[in-house]
Symmetry: C2
Subunit: 111 residues, 2 copies
DNA sequence: TGTATTAGTTACCATTTCGTTACCATTATT
DNA sequence: AATAATGGTAACGAAATGGTAACTAATACA
């Protein structure tokens, strides 16, 4: 999945742009994890088995950079960082739900 | 999304599955190119500048394997091969349209 | 004979993405 | 003094993806 928008073609295709935002191996699951709850870094990691911290960090950074989630850091020891869906991220929910329905049906039909 | 429950986190997330089908650098553009017309290999290549024949072949094969398009080969010289959206592919159109609308708005808002 | 045409394939390389392991800073607790 | 807790980084490598250039088969046509 190509996520950045340096390529002109991709910049002009809104569908590619959107797939770039929510695609990749882990982003759908991360967004699902945050769909209705604010969560700490460690909570997300615990709820998504097999994701490495490095990749989780990277994906969260991208999601934040792209405005889909927001990150709040508390100056405590040990550190606390909370991630929350932004309004932009929430505006995606209906489409993601439709994608989910379609994907489920597709999986069933293909079996 | 059903992925990240403890018992079946091996199971693939339907949203990821769908993104896998239509994601990547060129598939959205290919699907757009075929949305209402049957087209020959060369026509698709001509309408998508900068795509290499190798990658176009690969992506068309995957789209066909996944049931989103169908391929019809005519035994002529020089060869003729036509690609058409399948019913499954067409059933994606409403979602892709929603993605397009959302993506357009996102691009506007981010400028 | 030589060239054009179509829909690819093959070999090879570059870039992107994903994964593993070890490590860090700071404080409270033992 | 050692350890645990949290939210990361750094170094490295493997795998997936994308790109380039050369090549192919079969026939029509000049």
């Amino acid at each position: 999945m190509v996520t950045n928008t340096k390529n002109n073609h991709e910049m002009k295709c809104p569908v590619s742009a959107m797939i770039g935002l929510i695609g990749g191996k882990w982003k759908p699951i991360i967004l699902y994890c945050l769909r209705s709850e604010t969560r700490r870094f460690g909570e997300i990691a615990a709820r998504i088995p097999h994701i490495s911290r490095k990749v989780l960090t990277e994906q969260l950074k991208e999601l934040e950079r792209d405005g889909l989630i927001s990150r709040q850091q508390f100056n405590e020891i040990p550190p606390r960082v909370e991630y929350t869906m932004s309004e932009v991220g929430k505006s995606l929910s209906p489409i993601i739900q439709e994608m989910e329905k379609w994907g489920q049906q597709y999986i069933i039909d293909r079996q």
